[in-house]
Symmetry: C2
Subunit: 166 residues, 2 copies
């Protein structure tokens, strides 16, 4: 499979993958739910901090088949959300974002454009309702309707580098 | 697609998805590299902390097509690795790990068994060599050869809940 690649849509210094784009078999993703947010193309905040400052409401809606997986989640828990940035191009390997002095590799950026557009956000649960599948969260910087892939408990003991742990 | 599901291989209280397992089209993953570690089935540490205590060497090898994406990564940087736990079952939605008093939903656990077995690890870069594609890292709790999906810079400003930031 080759992802569309428009050479005219590059900033100076940006580069795309040379070899097209090979997807691996047997690693298909399941959509476990979707993001609910006020954001759509044109009004989306740049990052989680900006989303938090501008305000919600924000939620994750878990699909019926996956709601039993919410057992043990509690109000106040910090969690990691993994979600799929469907609109992002996947072939940019060097990028020239406006806030950087020089072109930078995709793996040194948090840009949505990346070979696997899986985003992560560390958020807090404001409510947990297994019956409706709704988890209200403190902030999210993703479009309304974004597919959610996973929720994991956030643990300071492993999710903060040891030398930065309080 | 339905993932194999052996009902005899469940602990008391564990539950599997009722509806089989539907994979979404158009969300295939690319393998950007692989983990190098001393771990294989039978000797793998339970988590990153244990891996760090037991010691390496540990590395990520980036595949040739993706090495330009390393531009801007520096020794000492904390990064988030996303990798694919190929061996994990994907249909467990409630699990009964030995360290828990009662069965717990998959989304409240860091277990590798989950609908999308995408793991995340926050690690530090010990060396960066774009020519060979090798990134030495301080620790990893994944098997040797595990497929890598993404590398992102770890940022305290978004990857630690605001009220826990120092």
């Amino acid at each position: 499979m080759t992802i569309a690649n428009d050479p005219s849509d590059l900033r100076p210094g940006e580069r795309t993958l040379k070899t097209g784009f090979v997807l691996s078999d047997g690693m298909g993703l399941a959509i476990i739910g979707q993001i609910r947010s006020p954001w759509s193309n044109g009004n989306c905040p740049k990052n989680l901090r900006e989303a938090r400052a501008r305000g919600g409401p924000f939620a994750v809606e878990i699909a019926p088949a996956y709601r039993e997986g919410m057992l043990g989640l509690s109000v106040g828990d910090p969690v990691v959300l993994l979600y799929w940035m469907s609109g992002a191009r996947r072939d940019l390997i060097v990028q020239a974002p406006a806030h950087r002095d020089c072109p930078t590799g995709t793996f040194a950026l948090r840009s949505p454009a990346r070979p696997n557009p899986v985003a992560l956000a560390v958020v807090r649960l404001l409510s947990v309702d297994p019956a409706s599948g709704v988890l209200q969260i403190d902030a999210i910087d993703a479009f309304d309707g974004t597919p959610v892939l996973d929720i994991k408990p956030w643990l300071a003991s492993v999710d903060v580098p040891p030398d930065l742990q309080g």
